[in-house]
């Protein structure tokens, strides 16, 4: 053994400078202002506020039932809050009609959820192309764009498989490709590794962060898993329907 392992900065090094970019100067892209939302008698959000800046990856953490997924659904225009405002760029998302909100979601946002998102009747490639087809891209162009993602995500040769013929990790990478294929401005991810073992989950997060950094996509990532949150630039904690002030409701 002639080359002992070395290097100036081993993991045991304490402290050090933050490794992630400071984006406090970047423009706001998504913002929640004082959101309240109840499901029947049950309050899910009680004054949640959050600012997300262009190009950052924000992990939204918190205990089960804290309201973190509800907050994500409001930011993404899937749910409309009872009170408060949701901004995307210069637009009030919560004030748009259902149709306009759906169109905006389809054209400007990408989504990755925990599992079971692929359409089982479609091949992996058709699943990835789906968002482009839905927003009117021709099939040929959509397929070409979809195919580009397979080598990037280590999915070569799986283009023709259906979801039943993919492992959990592969299916999740196909779902990630589908979330990114239309070059969304914001990717919303809700427990994207929640159904995966730690190795597959790590691969998905490695690929996700590499791809969004490359594209400059902003990410709002809901997770209860600290190892997943560690891929983000910063975390916020949701507790009892509010974003904990310590964790920076105002970025």
């Amino acid at each position: 053994m002639d080359r002992p392992h070395g290097g100036p900065a081993g993991p045991a090094r304490q402290g050090g400078t933050p490794v992630t970019a400071d984006r406090t100067g970047a423009a706001k892209i998504v913002e929640a202002r004082g959101l309240f939302l109840s499901f029947g008698e049950t309050p899910a959000l009680r004054g949640a506020s959050l600012v997300v800046r262009q190009g950052e990856i924000v992990a939204v953490m918190g205990p089960s039932g804290s309201g973190k997924s509800t907050l994500l659904h409001c930011l993404a225009g899937i749910l409309v809050p009872d009170e408060g405002q949701v901004w995307f760029g210069g637009q009030r998302l919560d004030a748009l009609s259902d149709d306009r909100r759906s169109a905006l979601r389809r054209d400007r946002f990408g989504f990755v959820f925990q599992s079971g998102q692929l359409v089982p009747e479609l091949t992996a490639e058709e699943n990835v192309a789906l968002p482009l087809l839905l927003s009117g891209t021709r099939r040929g162009a959509a397929t070409t764009a979809a195919r580009k993602w397979f080598p990037t995500l280590g999915l070569d040769g799986l283009e023709g498989r259906r979801s039943g013929e993919l492992s959990g990790g592969q299916a999740q990478r196909v779902a990630l490709a589908r979330g990114l294929v239309a070059s969304p401005e914001v990717l919303f991810a809700d427990e994207p590794t929640g159904s995966l073992d730690s190795m597959s989950g790590e691969l998905v997060m490695d690929l996700l962060t590499a791809a969004v950094r490359e594209q400059g996509t902003t990410v709002v990532l809901v997770t209860h898993d600290a190892r997943v949150a560690a891929y983000a630039d910063r975390e916020v904690i949701v507790r009892d329907g509010k974003v904990s002030t310590l964790s920076g409701a105002e970025a």
Partner: protein, 174 residues
Amino acid sequence: MSVPLTLLGLLERGPSHGYDLKRDYDAYFGRGKPLRYSQVYATLSRLARDGKAVAGPVEQEAGPERRRYVITAEGMADVQRWLAEPAPPEPDLQSELFAKVVLALMLDRPANGYLDIQRAAHLQRMRELTELKRRGDTLDVLLADHIIYRLEADLRWIDHTAARLDLLARAVRR
């Protein structure tokens, strides 16, 4: 970790000078806490005295002690026994973390606030280690993962504790 047994393990690869053992120990296991030369030579002398290693003649060279050590059959048996034993399943408890929570509750200070800043500090460290994994080689990744999983265990304890502070406060207050 046992420094003598670790050095003995390194010595099992082949006869070595104290200098080489120190260099490899620091590279693989030292991580910011290098061994002192005096500690290496004192340990090697003890291992020789106890029959775990044999010291060769002093070599005619300038500089620090140049003496080659060779592991004995008894030394190899020690290494084998040590590697087959589990390490004590007694994590070095982050006792400062535990003590701060209990004291904050006893003194009616904001334990929740403390847990929040501790969580933030743990997550910041996990971010640094995750970044290091992206850039590092296999051994960096292995060691970073080891620290990450331990920090994660702390974080689970922090969340668990934060969820039951009222109950704990009643238990520690007189």
